[in-house]
């Protein structure tokens, strides 16, 4: 291969790379990383990463520790005004992307049973998805075990929602529609 063809190859690769890295994608990755850092920091600082604290918050008949109510309160106090005064008025995000919230407003058995199953798991160990992902860096095999089983549970749910996997008692899902991920 001559020097020229190599250079041409390289140039075509660069233009291909540039066309793939659209503005919305660059913003998505950059803001994704920043928000991830903020979110994880919030999880650690607030104490959500401590399952004992979570259980103490859920233990309303015992020695109740209300501090995690302040986590949700603080989050809502910041997010809700920004959403209602700034985000809601926009047609699309700053990156040009559409807002990806779901237009689904039906409250059905799938939503309730999913939430109840999640709640049972949350009450059993005091772990939910955000804190465990944040705790990955702690090097604990408890966290690893939770994340791996959580991924398996998610795969099962996706398969069930797509009508490909039967559940005990319930069987296959009947009215299969497109699986929406929120």
């Amino acid at each position: 291969m001559s020097q020229n063809t190599i250079r041409e190859n390289k140039e075509s690769q660069i233009t291909m790379f540039k066309s793939r890295m659209t503005k919305s994608k660059v913003i998505g990755i950059f803001i994704g990383l920043i928000s991830g850092l903020l979110f994880g920091s919030g999880m650690i600082i607030s104490g959500m990463v401590n399952p004992d604290k979570v259980i103490a918050f859920l233990d309303i008949t015992g020695n109740w520790d209300p501090s995690l109510a302040f986590v949700m309160g603080g989050a809502l106090a910041v997010f809700s005004p920004i959403y209602h005064f700034f985000i809601k008025k926009r047609k699309h995000a700053i990156s040009g992307d559409k807002f990806s919230w779901t237009s689904n407003t039906t409250i059905d058995g799938t939503l309730i049973s999913g939430a109840v199953i999640f709640g049972i798991g949350w009450g059993l160990a005091g772990f939910c998805p955000g804190p465990v992902v944040t705790s990955l860096g702690g090097g604990s095999n408890i966290i690893l075990a939770f994340i791996l089983s959580m991924i398996v549970g998610m795969v099962h749910a996706n398969q069930y929602l797509a009508g490909r996997f039967p559940l005990p008692i319930v069987g296959y899902r009947k009215n299969v529609c497109a699986v929406e991920s929120t």
């Binding site: 994608k25 913003i27 990755i29 994704g32 920043i34 928000s35 991830g36 850092l37 903020l38 979110f39 920091s41 919030g42 650690i44 607030s46 401590n50 004992d52 859920l58 302040f70 986590v71 949700m72 309160g73 603080g74 989050a75 809502l76 910041v78 997010f79 809700s80 920004i82 959403y83 995000a93 919230w101 939503l111 049973s113 999913g114 939430a115 109840v116 709640g119 049972i120 949350w122 059993l124 772990f127 939910c128 998805p129 955000g130 992902v133 705790s135 860096g137 604990s140 408890i142 966290i143 939770f146 791996l148 089983s149 398996v152 998610m154 996706n158 699986v179 929406e180 991920s181 929120t182």
Partner: protein, 140 residues
Amino acid sequence: MEFTIPWASLFGGMLLGLSAALLMLFSGKIAGISGTIGGLLNPKKNESSWRAAFLTGMILSVIIVTPFGFILPDVSDNNIILVSVAGLLVGFGTRLGNGCTSGHGIIGMGRFSKRSIIATCAFMAAAIIVVLIRRLLGVL
């Protein structure tokens, strides 16, 4: 009874809200963790790179807060079998119910979404009942 405001919890919660607002304002995405992981398992075009970046940020955040004296707690005294069962239930339930404490509890509730308010009440009630049963059985 003496009560002091848990400032760290309040401040940490405000960071969560700020993060969710930034992500939605700039790129229109929802900072729901179960949705982010579940979306990577069922990838769609142009939806994976921001999710991977978001999770990377979360995993790396421990490096930022450690110099300020915030460390990850020791969780090694948990029973690994119980934790694995809980993980299966959490993974399955969050996908079925389309969200977890962040997606429903912060973003959905903040938007006053009826679905999210119902879901948050349902998982809080279920978790409180499970903890109550564990207390009654003496395994808390």
